[in-house]
Symmetry: none
Subunit: 230 residues, 4 copies
């Protein structure tokens, strides 16, 4: 078992190790530019993280899903956490930017604006990577304070700001009378969050119709805020 401990002039380990591999290498992936590859990795990461959570995810799986070698991941992301961060940075900002734009330009009533946003959310979040990402953030956020702070700064506070803007707009236009939505914008968002969580956990056997659910919320909310049609 034990190599005799005498001084044997053996070949340096590092060198001899590699020399053993004789089979031909697998063909290298064909041209794919950096951004494309990065996207592929992020897509794979979303799948794997979403299936197993952060700690449970294996970078091996991410690499396989992305169709790259393990080492390649590290050419794009410093480590597992950076990969996670990249995910949040990529998939959520666009939706928020769009929502912000919609709110800024929307000409109609607050009710119609809310409807518009519900459509935006159901189409751009529910059933998309963004939804999985929200779920992932909720699940892993508490364990990654820095990531949670980043998410709060980049996503949550901006989302709530949009809500406040809408609510204030409604007040200004005399459509609603209560400022509760300005003071507690989270109330407006809560059902969407819960819908995401619900379908993630129970969707398989007791799905929640997000569209109808959010519409009901809209009615309840507007009435609660003193809605009067104008």
């Amino acid at each position: 078992m034990a190599r005799p401990s005498g001084r044997q002039p053996d070949i340096p380990a590092q060198v001899s190790r590699r020399a053993a591999g004789v089979e031909p290498r697998r063909r290298r992936a064909p041209a794919m530019d950096k951004a494309e590859r990065r996207r592929a990795i992020l897509a794979a990461a979303l799948t794997v993280f979403s299936d197993h959570g952060f700690a449970g995810a294996r970078l091996d799986d991410v690499a396989r899903h992305a169709g790259v070698a393990k080492g390649t991941l590290y050419l794009h992301f410093a480590d597992k956490e950076a990969l996670f961060r990249g995910l949040v940075e990529q998939d959520i900002a666009p939706v928020l930017a769009d929502a912000d734009a919609v709110v800024g330009l929307f000409p109609g009533s607050t009710r119609d604006l809310i409807d518009r946003l519900i459509v935006l959310i159901t189409q751009r979040v529910m059933g998309t990577p963004a939804e999985a990402l929200v779920r992932l953030m909720i699940a892993e956020g508490p364990r990654f304070p820095e990531l949670a702070a980043f998410y709060h700064r980049e996503v949550v506070s901006r989302g709530l700001a949009i809500v406040r803007k809408i609510a204030q707009r409604g007040l200004d236009r005399g459509e609603i009378t209560s400022d509760l939505a300005v003071r507690f914008p989270q109330l407006v968002i809560s059902p969407a969050i819960v819908a995401v969580i619900w379908n993630g956990m129970f969707g398989a056997f007791d799905p929640l119709d997000a569209k109808a659910f959010l519409a009901a919320h809209r009615d309840l909310l507007l009435r609660g805020l003193g809605w009067r049609d104008m």
Copy 2:
């Protein structure tokens, strides 16, 4: 997975509290019987799983928190997953049973009833192991479908039934006019869920005052449901 059915007494006061009598001093095991030890393990597990998630939790830590040896865990639970299952299956009933009782017996207005429930939730959930458990279920549920189903059956559906009962009671008493809360009881619960999540993620630097938040929700909700004081 099937928990032996049947009602468990509310916080079963442990059978015999080391009834006055001669304690036969064994050299080995300290004074802690099997059930007691099991509870200690589950309590430790809640802490550790809640802090690190399922995959991130170390049984070493659970054992240390519980004050037992690592091997001892395996005398009570087949493996890490069984421990997690035991955790969720254990401390679920009490709060719900209480809530159910309150609703059944409550004499006052629906508004007061809701207030009563808010107090119940803020006092019996927020800041207690139950809150950690909710958070844990949200985080890990998607990865444990059977457990999610169990949770849905034992907790969520019962909780929503209570909500429905309250809403129906309000309708019956003519206090509210909308049946939205009957059709989408999740709307009523959403802010509480979000409050738990919020404080878990952002509590450190942007805490949400759950009491005020839920009170605002109550006002919005009641008005939205057509509340009229009677």
Copy 3:
């Protein structure tokens, strides 16, 4: 290749992975007390480090040489560097302590004392683990400043102190007249160091007879220091 990325209620990775292993475990190593096992690990480490250097050594090999599992190493040493440190701490002190004792008690002439120490060195260092360790320290020391400092403090400075004591003793007894060995005790040690290095590098094809070499050094040294027989 890629698992379908849909939400499959698959068994948590962590659990299923282990479940695959079905073969019977290797029998556990029979009783061996902690100290004994620690010694076995250190002996193995000396062999492996000595053969491959610090960076080139594989803990896998250390474990195999020691006849323990890889994880067991970490029950005794925090990491690879701690293992290295343990090596230095264990194998060198005894020789120094012995040398110190010899010098303190020796009754004869300085020449005889030096002869005695040459015997000590050739017998207790040359061809023993201590020799490999000295070689190892010389090779790796520059890369491990803390270890070098420790080595300097625990080994080198103590060794030089012994040399100084001998030289001073010779001066006091009127056997030698130069204080160069007090001022540069490293001069006295150098040939021993070089003998160790030499035989490590060239011993296989051009061995240096350490005994004769050190005896020559003794003669040269004593004459250089003004030796006069008394």
Copy 4:
């Protein structure tokens, strides 16, 4: 740091680093012919190997230090070991050739000759790449038997031959009477070796004044060899 966020193909680190020289870089290979490039690589290799040892050295670092791409290394050296070999085989001759010439031509006394050599060593070795090389050989030699043999043949034996020549010259001139330095020329070299090692390991906190140390050695040595002024 404030790189404009435009869509400029971002500048490879490699190039930008070199940009220290202000002149605009041509797109392709700078004016550097094969031999020049090879020398640059070897110089870089000396630095890196010397800092980290063979196994610990990263070819990435070597490439960066040399200002070439990693792949380029392989156009000049078959693999890591070949690079190491090339390193040792390269810058060996000069110092020895010089030393040899000095000895052959020197007109003065042996004492003065030795002084001359001390100057040569302290100036041409200490603090130069050659010193790093000696240290490197000492550290890695045992792991590269062939290289050690080469080193022995090309450096050590030639160095010792020079020492023997000096000693014999002293005997012939009647300046010394002992032939110990002819029989054990390593004795003459030892302190220089130890000085190199010492300062490599302990130089940071307990530096050894090589000049004074070697002068003391010279005195001790000459007297030990029976020096008499003529």
